[in-house]
């Protein structure tokens, strides 16, 4: 209701304290976090709208002097058509430039592209493994307070502990309940371990298998 009244400009938002409304909303979420997600989201969107409107209302409007003379011309934003001569000029210059050939720069080693060998495993295979894991994941619960997230390094340590010595599929490695965001974080750590050569991956016709690096294939 408050949202509609503000939207219709029937009340001045500056006169309405929003802090108690926010607190009431958070209490509602805490008590009813398993209720309808759509309703919770709609209420959050309405609250965010009110907060934004109030924030804008609180910002002092700059006093703009009326432009005079030359200033008036400078204030006018150009239209895109005004840039046409520049585009023509750029095209002409590019045409000239294409007739000039320079020494090819040496291919420096990209710092992030460390060499790692995944033999015949493609990005598509890894994506398939990720997709299967995501299918088993549950949606993240709606909680008003965000959980402290582990760093990627911490996550890599955890994944390393869970990786077996012999090749196994993710169905075997990852057990129990987990959420989608946990899967994303877990799989990112796994990819990073593969990139650094600390984990190995192989593929069969049906699945993708992972293990800790440094073990001979059985």
């Amino acid at each position: 209701m408050l949202f509609l009244m503000v939207k219709d400009r029937k009340i001045d938002l500056l006169d309405v304290p929003l802090a108690p409304i926010c607190e009431a909303y958070f209490r509602y979420l805490l008590q009813n976090h398993r209720e309808d997600l759509e309703r919770s989201a709609a209420a959050l969107a309405a609250l965010a709208y009110l907060l934004e409107r109030k924030a804008w209302a609180l910002i002092p409007a700059p006093e703009e002097a009326e432009p005079e003379g030359d200033d008036l011309l400078e204030e006018v934003e150009p239209y895109v058509q005004d840039f046409h001569p520049a585009i023509v000029e750029l095209l002409g210059r590019r045409e000239i430039r294409e007739k000039l050939f320079f020494r090819t720069p040496g291919q420096g080693e990209l710092p992030y592209e460390l060499p790692f060998d995944t033999s015949d495993v493609t990005a598509g295979d890894l994506a398939r493994a990720f997709e299967r894991l995501m299918e088993r994941a549950k949606p993240d619960p709606v909680t008003p307070m965000s959980k402290p997230r582990r760093s990627l390094t911490e996550m890599m340590v955890l994944v390393m502990k869970e990786l077996p010595a012999d090749f196994a599929s993710l169905d075997v490695i990852v057990v129990g309940d987990f959420t989608r965001s946990e899967v994303v974080w877990w799989f990112l750590a796994l990819l990073e371990l593969i990139r650094l050569g600390q984990a190995e991956v192989s593929v069969s016709e049906t699945d993708v298998f992972f293990r800790r690096a440094g073990h001979e294939t059985d």
Partner: protein, 199 residues
Amino acid sequence: MRLIDKVEAVLFIADSPLTADYLASLIGVPIFEVEDVLERLGGKLQNNGPLQLIRIAGGFQVCTKPEYADLVAQFLQPQKHKLSRSLLEVLAVVAYRQPITMGEIDEIRGVQSDYGLRQLVEKRLVVEIGRKSSPGRPLLYGTTQQFLHTFNLQSLEELPDIFGRKAFEAIGSDLPPEQPALPTLESETGGLVEEEGAD
């Protein structure tokens, strides 16, 4: 060894434009001597052989003369990367109005420019150069040295004066002090030729 030969040797091997200032410090001679030598070297190359010395992207670089373009292209077979009309439009707006936010580009063009801007950033023609001191602190974009190189420009001053005054006179003055006005030579010209198809 003569100074002109030293300068020619370094320029011959350089894969990005070198400034007279850099050459002077590298060889250990005053800059005015290098400037004089660069002028003589330019004349010498212009009159003889297939190479020429040009001023580009704020420095000097040796390249082949246009009359050898077909032959060299036949050898290198460079891939052509044409810029679409919309990309050129975004690029022109950024070049003239930089530092500029994506919202301001959208306002001028009347359509969304996020895709075009992203493409230009990927092509290293445009780069983030800071944040605007306004609500939300939106990113500011500007052109790179590779932009100058790709369009055969010595500096932005060479662009046509389409607004009755140089729109880019104030470039750098609005930027936060910690943000460079343009990327460094090494970081931005490095990938140019690779992108152009090893020309």
